[in-house]
Symmetry: C2
Subunit: 269 residues, 2 copies
Amino acid sequence: MGGYRILVTNDDGIYSPGLRLLYEALRGLGVVRVLAPETPKSSSGLGITLHKPLRIEKYKLWGDVEVYATNGTPSDTVYMAVNLLEESFDLVASGVNIGDNTSIQVILSSGTVGAAAQAALLGIKAVAFSAAVDEPEQLSGDYASRVREASRVIAEWVLENGLPEEVDVLNVNYPPPSKWSGLVEVAPPARLRYLQKVTENVDPRGKRYYWLYGEPLEPEKDTDVYAVYVKGAVTLTPLSLNLTLLNGAYGRILSDLEGLRKELVRVLG
Amino acid sequence: MGGYRILVTNDDGIYSPGLRLLYEALRGLGVVRVLAPETPKSSSGLGITLHKPLRIEKYKLWGDVEVYATNGTPSDTVYMAVNLLEESFDLVASGVNIGDNTSIQVILSSGTVGAAAQAALLGIKAVAFSAAVDEPEQLSGDYASRVREASRVIAEWVLENGLPEEVDVLNVNYPPPSKWSGLVEVAPPARLRYLQKVTENVDPRGKRYYWLYGEPLEPEKDTDVYAVYVKGAVTLTPLSLNLTLLNGAYGRILSDLEGLRKELVRVLG
């Protein structure tokens, strides 16, 4: 305890109560730097900014805490932090996001998990924290205390024990306040959480516009969505960024693709 | 042949020669719809747009082809296409991207692969195509012919044979024109492709700004980066979006995390 270097970031921006909560949860564990987007960047995924300049502003928030804000994405914050704030970090903690990050569909689009994933690619232990609430105001009172305490315990455990081998990111989701059961579950992600739809409308000038929205699907058993929303469990989901199924299926996949490979060689030869 | 419904999209925008090339490669295979971002959205990952309205404009390009342009991301195009253009698609083909999409680091930030991944989550066969060129102008002449021919063969093969079980996206990278060897390889992604750095500079008003850039790392053997840049191979990388290592390592990971789970139950109980 005490000597760890921790980066706290998020995708909801520096004024989110989730960022402050996470800072307060972790500040006793060492040197905690805070660098986050200045405005919300939800659903930015692992996007990074290569085509325009990035700014950093230093603020004093939450009493007297140095908070750095950037116009970049959550992923950018990780690269900026390791280049500009500290040489490296023992932990990148991202969140606490307002809204859950459950299911592969949501996880892969999530800026909160995206920042953690970028950290993992740099070899830094990474935990993403999200709370299944609709509004920032719900992250308060008793609920906030429990989320704060759990986040501290999780971060400290990961700092001391590391993540299991082959795990890149620990994705933590807190259940809705009304459903909190006290259970803690390790659960894999569901594949889909929403049926994505598009509404069509007409603006005041008579021009058509569209808006994407998701209709929640019935949660499948033994998934993160089920654990969070049906069981009311604090849910730990170990994520691997290995995209190749190298352990097991890869041999079969290679032989499945051999026909295509040969066909291409023939056509291009 | 002939009856397939295909969506062609990209992340470089509707004026990229890679989009036109892909359309021309696939138009013989069935009904090919084109819906893509109106401006380049590189490094947008799987980001989707939930917080603002989306527009669609219809253009006639490339002679007399209907091309739909949106202010949304590559991922948005998939959701818009299945809601507004066709009920579903037999194939989503994304690209041809100007620049390679090799390594997990790049793949996870890639809008080209992101659009394909969103399609895969909807159960649609998905192929991402990228060419290791620096400038759009390089996608011309002999090189463009070979890329066009190979893309058609790949799409047709996937339409007829499907992707191997557990594979969500086939990620295709074409080698640089100067290195094209005629080899075709199936290769897993490298983990990292770049060492990300930040330069610091001062704008005309005296304010500091930063710019992210990547220094290419030495390519590791038996990876997509090596196959594309060292061997000059057309490289096929099967990607799975299963983030959980369910086949094999998950049991161990569960038991590794049991200590943390118990600790949390104790603290929260």
